[in-house]
Subunit: 231 residues, 2 copies
DNA sequence: CTGACTTTGTGAACGTGTGCACATGTGCCT
DNA sequence: AGGCACATGTGCACACGTTCACAAAGTCAG
């Protein structure tokens, strides 16, 4: 009886690396590379080969022993697993310094995250056009989210307004938030939040920089794959 | 014999949280709060109270049982541990969309990371002034790094130029790099790299968003402290 | 068809991080 | 002075993540 296969849960750490593999694989596909070994992919991603194999094994056994992985097929599988088979329109709250840079950046649309809207509370910002999108009033948020089926919101307001922005996003129906303001957002169950805090990143670098007194190197991880080696 | 106490190694995960505690503690200090309990701090930071205590215990036993931690003193200790007792000037490579937003953002200087310089390779970008800093040619990088004692560099160039930017930073003497380009940078031993990849963040959100079919919530961690609860 | 070679997929050992639970220390109130 | 309430600091068990090492599975040349 072909019961729909139960979705394996993929470890958090693996989920964070899959996008990196995906980017590299797409690049390789553009270079007409047809197959890639775990070692080759590991090299390009700056990680251990065993880690690559274990990560990919969560998707299923899609490699061929003695050969490696078929690039195009892996791209397809990772896309599917990450939910990138369709676009995820994004709405940006806050059309300041950062909001404008984000909205004007073409890289998101290319990767399946088109900017469905940019909203701001400041009347002076309204109706300017950034990256082909007109800045609208924050009261239009609900309408934008509904009509464009937005489920991801980006908070790019000053820290003091970030919780308000998040509340409005949630009320409008958004269920995932990427937060650039240096504050901890409170959200209801059922809503995911990821934060990007640049000052924190610099402070972490500062910590290792400070310790680097006479001593050698540090590979830094956590967020990502820091690494030493080569040049 | 007062031998200089051997520096305890602080776990990576703790180092990543200390800046968050620090920000909250500074806020509390501004609100004239004198003492704070691990529970209170945990609440504000969106983490477990035991974790807060363990994290702080790596700095030493600076709490008072029955009372909590003295805010001002903790601020001092965390600053010291993170190496924030003095400023860390930063040089930004790439004066595009993002580089301009970063350079124009006052928040870094406030937190001890003044922008010592912004460089670009495109003659058209030269001599424009962003956030009080004039954009200079990338050939001036060495001079800027030397004269301002810069040890942290920010890469905000297109992906194709990122490795070149990193190489130049390293050659100029920079030993920590914050990379915004979606590529894996190769650097020599002794150089730390952290990367911020916004597309990756969105793709991680996409993964959890996709799975949210009927099911409840997800707290997302890794980078940070995602969280569920309240509104 | 055989055998040498390549590379995957994964069991198992290890290391790191988390969170409970509680003994221990501190301040306050009577 | 003594007792009580409170909050820290940490031992311990468990969960999660990483890496090694190797059998199994496949390729390819002759
Ligand atoms: N610019 C950077 O490079 C940078 C770097 C790190 C962090 N950040 C953080 O990103 C956030 C935005 O930074 P920025 O430099 O763009 O700030 P900004 O002041 O330039 O822009 C903030 C925008 O948000 C709008 N806004 C204010 N309250 C709002 C509300 N309630 N609803 C909707 N919009 C509202 C403002 O009108 C303004 O246009 C801040 O929290 C900042 O700390 C920015
Ligand atoms: N803008 C965003 O919101 C955003 C978001 C996510 C990621 N990024 C990434 O950040 C990076 C910068 O993005 P952007 O939008 O600012 O791009 P951009 O094209 O606007 O700016 C890039 C700048 O780098 C300069 N440059 C090119 N080669 C250089 C070199 N070898 N040395 C020094 N400078 C050089 C260019 O002259 C240009 O001014 C890209 O890698 C992009 O993928 C940007």
């Amino acid at each position: 009886m072909p019961v729909e296969r139960v979705r394996r849960r993929i470890p958090e750490a693996t989920v964070a690396r899959l996008p990196v593999y995906l980017r590299i694989l797409v690049e390789q596909a553009n270079l007409e590379v047809e197959n890639i070994s775990s070692e080759g992919l590991a090299e390009l991603a700056g990680v251990n080969a065993a880690k690559v194999r274990k990560d990919l094994s969560y998707l299923g056994s899609y490699g061929t022993r003695g050969v490696g992985y078929e690039v195009a097929f892996l791209v397809y599988q990772i896309r599917r697993e990450l939910g990138l088979t369709h676009d995820w329109p994004v709405v940006i709250v806050g059309a300041g310094n950062l909001g404008q840079a984000l909205a004007g950046y073409g890289g998101f649309g290319e990767r399946g995250f088109p900017v469905a809207g940019v909203v701001d509370i400041d009347p002076a910002k309204l109706d300017s056009v950034i990256g082909g999108v007109r800045v609208r009033h924050i009261d239009d948020l609900g309408q934008i989210v509904q009509s464009r089926q937005v489920s991801i919101g980006v908070v790019a307001t000053p820290p003091a307004a970030a919780q308000d922005a998040a509340d409005r996003l949630v009320r409008a129906g958004v269920t995932s938030i990427l937060n650039f303001a240096p504050v901890v957002l409170g959200v209801p169950h059922g809503v995911s939040v990821r934060k990007v805090d640049l000052a924190v990143e610099l402070q972490i670098l500062s910590y290792y920089e400070q310790r680097r007194v006479g001593v050698g190197f540090h590979a830094i991880g956590s967020n990502d794959s820091g690494r030493g080696a080569s040049a």
